[in-house]
C-alpha cells in the first residue's frame, strides 16, 4: 500500500479537515499523522489559523449609512410591523 510523504500530506490537510477525502486516502492521512509529529503540528496550525481568523472583530457600518438604512426600512411601502422583527 502506498504511503504519503509529508510534502503530499500538507496538501491534503484542508480536504481532511472538511471530511472530503475518500476513505482510502483518509486512512493514509491518519496513518501518517499517527507517526509524524511534524505533520501533526502542521495540521494543528491550519486549525489554529482558521480559529484565529474567526476571532477577528467585526467591522461596523458608518453611523450615517446606518441611519439612512433605518429610514429606508421604516419608509418601505406597505411595510407592516410583523412579529416585532426589526
Amino acid at each position: 500500500m502506498n504511503q504519503l510523504d509529508c510534502d503530499q500530506l500538507v496538501e491534503l490537510v484542508t480536504e481532511f479537515l472538511e471530511g472530503a477525502l475518500d476513505a482510502r486516502t483518509e486512512r493514509q492521512v491518519v496513518d501518517h499523522l499517527a507517526l509524524c509529529d511534524g505533520c501533526g503540528t502542521y495540521l494543528d496550525q491550519m486549525r489554529q489559523t482558521a480559529r484565529s481568523l474567526g476571532e477577528l472583530p467585526p467591522d461596523r457600518l458608518p453611523e450615517s449609512a446606518r441611519a439612512a438604512l433605518l429610514d429606508a426600512f421604516r419608509a418601505r411601502p406597505g411595510a407592516e410591523p410583523r412579529g416585532g422583527v426589526t
Binding site: D44, Q45, M46, L56, D59, L61
Partner: protein, 192 residues
C-alpha cells in the same frame, strides 16, 4: 438584523472594492436592493444567504464601475504550486525525500497568546495580500464562519473549487503566522 449582519457584509464587500467608503456604500446599496426585492424572496435559500448573494452582485457591479479587476472564475487559473515552501522538505538525495527537513515548531497555545492588536493587524495584512477569490472564500469560511455549502451557493462555485481556494488561502495565512511567531519581537508586550 441590520447591525448584526452589516459587519460581515462590510468585510466581504471590501474584498471587491477599493476603499472602506465604497464598501460601506455597497452594503448600503445591497440593503436597499434587499428591501425592494424582499417580496421576491422565495425561501429556498436561507435569508442571509440570499442577502449575501445580493451583496456579492452589488459589489461586483461596483467593482466594474471602479474598473478594478473583478474576481471571476474564468479569468485566471488558480495558481497550482505547493502551499508549503518545497525547501521545507528533503530532496531526492537526502535520507527521507519528501519529509520535513525541519519540523514546524508548535505555536504558543491560544491561552498564552490573546488575539492582541499586533497579531490582529498581521492577520488583516495576510488577508489583504491574498488573491481576490482566495480572500473572499477564506473570509466567508473562517472569518465569518459560513458552512461550505452556503459559501458555494453564495459565490456559485463548486465544492471542490471552494476547497482548493480555502486550502491555498489557509496555507498562505498559516505561513504568515508561522513567520510572525518565529520573529524575535514576538510576543509583544509593548516595546520592552
Amino acid at each position: 438584523m441590520l447591525d448584526s449582519w452589516s459587519g460581515g457584509m462590510l468585510r466581504l464587500a471590501r474584498s471587491f472594492v477599493s476603499t472602506p467608503d465604497s464598501a460601506a456604500e455597497v452594503v448600503q446599496d445591497a440593503w436597499l436592493a434587499v428591501l425592494s426585492n424582499i417580496d421576491r424572496f422565495e425561501g429556498r435559500a436561507a435569508l442571509k444567504t440570499w442577502v449575501y448573494r445580493i451583496l456579492v452582485n452589488t459589489a461586483k457591479r461596483r467593482a466594474v464601475q471602479e474598473s478594478r479587476t473583478v474576481p471571476r472564475s474564468s479569468l485566471t487559473p488558480e495558481p497550482s504550486g505547493p502551499t508549503v515552501d518545497p525547501d521545507r522538505f528533503q530532496s531526492a538525495d537526502e535520507p527521507y525525500p519528501g519529509h520535513w527537513r525541519q519540523m514546524p515548531l508548535p505555536w504558543p497555545s491560544p491561552e498564552q497568546r490573546a488575539l492582541d492588536e499586533e497579531l490582529r493587524s498581521h492577520l488583516e495584512r495576510a488577508l489583504a495580500a491574498l488573491p481576490d477569490r482566495q480572500r473572499i472564500v477564506i473570509t466567508l469560511r473562517d472569518v465569518e464562519g459560513y458552512p461550505a455549502d452556503e459559501v458555494c451557493s453564495m459565490l456559485d462555485i463548486s465544492a471542490a473549487n471552494q476547497r482548493v481556494l480555502l486550502h491555498r488561502a489557509r496555507g498562505y495565512v498559516r505561513a504568515e503566522l508561522e513567520a510572525y511567531f518565529a520573529s524575535p519581537g514576538e510576543p509583544g508586550e509593548g516595546a520592552g
